[in-house]
Structure formats: C-alpha cells, structure tokens
C-alpha cells in the first residue's frame, strides 16, 4: 500500500516538475489514411478533422502535442507499449477496446456505417460479398452477418475492390464513404440501410493515464460548450449538422 502511494507521489512529482519546466509533452498517434478524419496532405503533414480537433484540445489543455503516424493494425499495441500517448484515429469506442485502453468522451457522435456498391447494385448487395478493412468493427460485423466478408489492409483497397467488381459492396463509416460516393460521378452508390455499429469516436489513452484522460475530457467539454467542435464537424463533413 505504502509502495503505491510512494509510486503515485513520484509520478506526481515528475509531472509537476515537467509542467514547471515546460508544458506536458503528448504524442498523438493517428493512422493518416482515413480522410476526412485524418490523412497526409500534399505537404506530407497530418491533416483533417481530427488534426484540427486534436490541436485545439492540446491548446485548451495546455499540452504540447506532436503527431505520429502508425499503421491501423498495431495502433493499440504501440499505445500500450508507450510509443505515443493518445490515439486520435477515428476509433469508435467499443467494449472490446475499452477493456484494454481507456477513452476520452466522444468528440464525434456515433456514425452509422454505410454500404456502398457499384451503380445499379440492388440492396441485396449487402448480403453478397462485402469488403471491409481488417480489424475494424465493420469487419467483425460482416463476419457475423449472412454476407461473405473480404478483408483488406487499408480502407482504400476496400473501395477499390468494389470498383473492380471483386466485392459487391463495402461497409465503412458513412463519414468516410460520403466524399468518395459524391465524387465518383455516379459510379458508386449507397445501398441498403445504414447500420449502427459501435459508439462515438473518442481519444484512446492508456488505462494508467487517467490524468491525461481528465484533461482531454475537460478540453472536449469546453469545445462542445462553445460550439467550436460543431463548427469543425460542419467544416469537414459536408451536409452534417453539429450535434453538440
């Protein structure tokens, strides 16, 4: 018991000295391949909705943030092993993930997933061959439905599979698919009903980092209250209204 107290005291001391000397350093992990949530722009920088939200949160919580790219596959193992301190990568809050890491409160409301097929596809497409990104909630959703799931490593390949006729439909976050469908010149269309899988999107942090979690929550509270979060959602997701 004594040990834990001492342990906590040391941590508090270290963070206190750090805050005194400099602002707390936080490394923000993201995938960089999921526009408009996060992507690498032509200048080679991380850009997108989550970049702006993250930067604003860091400003409010007085954190000094650096952005780090990491593949989707290993994004959680690298968080728990300490390569970065947060995951800001369009990650839905699910029970499975919550057992391993903690989440801040949501900064994006639960986004229903949507099916997209080729022009002329009927609603039956969603029971045919459905493409999804490996290790996403959509992949495990399709795996437990009647449809045949095909898994690809990147979100881009899942859409490419529909274009090539390899898959009848793709299941992904509606926010990701909307721009793609809008700019496909009618080649791609939404099919079937949207399905609600998973919760809203939150920032993932290590379970041992409750301090940081509290700071992030407070900052998100402020952004929800003053309307900046709504404004960012409306800026990056065309035709959506800020829900907060």
């Amino acid at each position: 018991m004594k040990k834990t107290i001492l342990f906590g005291a040391v941590i508090a001391m270290i963070s206190a000295t750090a805050a005194f000397a400099d602002m707390q350093q936080v490394r923000m992990g993201t995938e960089g391949a999921y526009p408009p949530y996060n992507f690498i722009n032509d200048n080679g920088e991380i850009d997108g909705f989550e970049r702006e939200v993250g930067d604003r949160i860091c400003e409010l919580a007085e954190l000094e943030c650096t952005w780090v790219k990491n593949d989707w596959d290993s994004i959680i193992p690298n968080l728990v092993s300490g390569n970065y301190d947060t995951i800001v990568a369009g990650m839905s809050i699910t029970d499975e993930r919550d057992q391993v890491i903690d989440f801040s409160q949501e900064y994006f409301p639960p986004d229903p997933s949507a099916f997209v097929g080729l022009k002329g596809a009927s609603d039956d497409a969603i029971n045919g061959v459905v493409a999804a990104q490996t290790a996403t909630i959509q992949a495990s959703y399709v795996a437990s439905s009647d449809a045949t799931v095909v898994e690809f490593a990147t979100p881009d390949e899942t859409v490419a599979a529909v274009r090539s006729g390899e898959a009848d439909a793709v299941l992904a976050d509606a926010g990701y698919l909307e721009t793609i469908v809008a700019e496909s010149n009618g080649e791609l269309i939404f099919v079937g009903e949207r399905v609600a899988i998973g919760g809203g999107i939150g920032i993932g942090v290590r379970e041992s980092d409750s301090d940081l979690q509290a700071k992030l929550n407070a900052a998100i509270d402020t952004m929800k209250a003053d309307g900046t979060l709504n404004a960012l959602i409306e800026k990056w997701f065309e035709g959506r209204e800020g829900p907060y």
């Binding site: 200048n43 650096t66 390569n83």
Partner: protein, 291 residues
C-alpha cells in the same frame, strides 16, 4: 515553384511537375535513400554477427556452441516477417526496462500495469520530449538491428560452411610447419575461406535487398509505405485529386529493385573475377564453378 500555388488551375505538364514535386513526393524520393542506407548499414553488421555466429558454432566451449547452433537454426526456421512482427517491440521494451531499472531505482512498481507497459519518463526510448526525427532514427536503428539479427544467422551458415570447405590438407600443412591452431586459423583458414564464402554472401546480399519491402512492417516509412500512400485514390480534399494509381507507383518500385539487383549482380561478378585472380587455380576453379 511559384506557379504551383494554385494546383486546381494547373494543367498538363505543369500539373505533373507540381504534383511530382510536392513535399509528400519528396519524402517518397527520400525513402529510396532510407532503403539504401539500411542495406549498406545492415550488410557489415550482418557480416560481423555471422562471423560471431560461425565462431560460436565451432567453439569448443559447449554453452557457446549451443548458443550458436540455436541462434542459427532458430532464425533459419522462422520466416523473417514473423520475426519482424514481435522482435523489435520486444527489443524496445527490453531496453526501456533496463533503463527503467537503472535510471529510476526508486520506482519498484511492476512495469506491466494491466496491459500497459509503463516505465518512468526518463527511461523512455527515445524521450517523449525528443523531436520527431529522433523517434524516426530510433525506429530506423531498431529495424537495422532486426534485419541484422535475421541475416546474421544466414551469414553464420554460409561462413561456417566456407570454413569447413577449406581443404584439410592445407590446414595440416600449416600445422606441420609448427603453427599453432590460432595461427593456422588466422593465416590459412580465414584467408582461404573467403573464396568459398563469396557466392553465398553475394546471394545473401540479394536476399537482403529483396527483403527491404518488409521495412514498413517495422514502422519505418519506406518506399512501400509511400507508394501505397501516394498511389491510393485521392478525393478533392487533396490538392491533387486522382484515382487509384498504386499500380504506377509499384511499377516504379519494381524498376528500382530490378536495377538494384542487376547492378549488384554485375558488381559481384566483377569482384569475384578480381578475387579469384590471385587465388591458386583450385580455389579459383571452385569459385568460378559456384558462381
């Protein structure tokens, strides 16, 4: 370039010029150098590790011998890709754990708290306050070590075989002249060995070159990472929207690797010819045969 300021208004050659010179593309071009740097760093370390492994296998000190045998046969039995999936993370955590124990002796709590691997702030590698390039360089060196361990095992096999291939009568002759075992090894076996090892080592170089696309598994932003990233279809959020062009970027990689292996092959042939000139005809013969 000034005229690149408004990408949407560009057309034809100008569009291409601007597109191919974006900072993102410059990172792509730079990543080719990363790959080359990795190959040229890994090669000498591999040779050292291989030499150590071969000597360990031939050691008369049993634990060392077992270590050498286990090292070479273990790595030989596992695909490099599986190896890369967990060994770098293990190395990283191992290093941080050691630093944690040395730098923060006052913290006695477990480093594994549930799923989290937690070490004190000063034990982190690199420190979280270090700039991004330090993190990237650290990741790159982890990759260099991971590659070297894998290919060191192959090199150990090759060098061990080559040491065995030196004709016994040559070693006997050395001993007959009153040389000690160590002298025989250094003056006869070692110099003669290279002729036998060269074909195997040049092959190993080729394997190394062709294993570098796996670098992206080690979170190094290599040519494959950028080819995928740049080639994937781009919506109008980006300055230069385009459909799925991955095939063209991978074609560039294909050409890069074909050129690299072609030049390597030429260089090795030259080197081999040069090397076998000074050798006695028997070895020269074998070298030519094996090549």
């Amino acid at each position: 370039m000034e005229f690149c300021a408004e990408p949407a208004a560009l057309e034809g050659a100008k569009w291409w010029l601007c597109y191919l010179s974006t900072p993102k593309h410059q990172e792509f071009y730079f990543s080719f150098l990363t790959v080359l740097a990795l190959i040229f760093l890994v090669a000498p370390i591999t040779l050292l590790l291989g030499f150590g492994g071969a000597l360990a296998r031939r050691s008369s000190f049993l634990p060392l011998k077992w270590f050498g045998q286990i090292y070479t046969s273990m790595v030989r039995g596992v695909p490099d890709i599986v190896f890369f999936m967990f060994v770098p993370i293990a190395m990283d955590q191992g290093l941080e754990y050691v630093r944690h124990r040395i730098l923060c002796p006052e913290m006695t709590g477990p480093v594994y708290q549930g799923n989290d691997f937690v070490v004190c702030t000063v034990a982190k590698l690199p420190l979280s306050i270090s700039p991004q390039w330090v993190h990237e360089t650290y990741g790159f060196f982890l990759a260099v070590i991971a590659f070297s361990i894998v290919f060191g095992a192959f090199a150990a096999n090759t060098l061990d075989g080559a040491l065995n291939a030196v004709p016994h009568n040559q070693l006997e002759t050395g001993r007959a002249y009153g040389m000690t075992n160590r002298q025989v090894f250094r003056r006869i076996q070692l110099p003669q060995m290279w002729g036998y090892a060269l074909p195997g080592l040049s092959n190993l170089w080729m394997i190394l070159v062709k294993a570098t696309p796996l670098l992206f598994l080690l979170s190094v932003e290599d040519v494959v990472y950028w080819a995928r990233e740049l080639g994937s279809s781009k919506s109008s959020i980006f300055d230069y929207p385009h459909p799925d062009w991955r095939i063209w970027y991978f074609a560039a990689l294909l050409v890069f690797y074909l050129l690299l292996t072609w030049f390597s092959e030429k260089a090795f042939t030259r080197f081999r010819n040069w090397f076998s000139r000074g050798q006695n005809s028997h070895t020269g013969q074998i070298v030519l045969e094996a090549g």
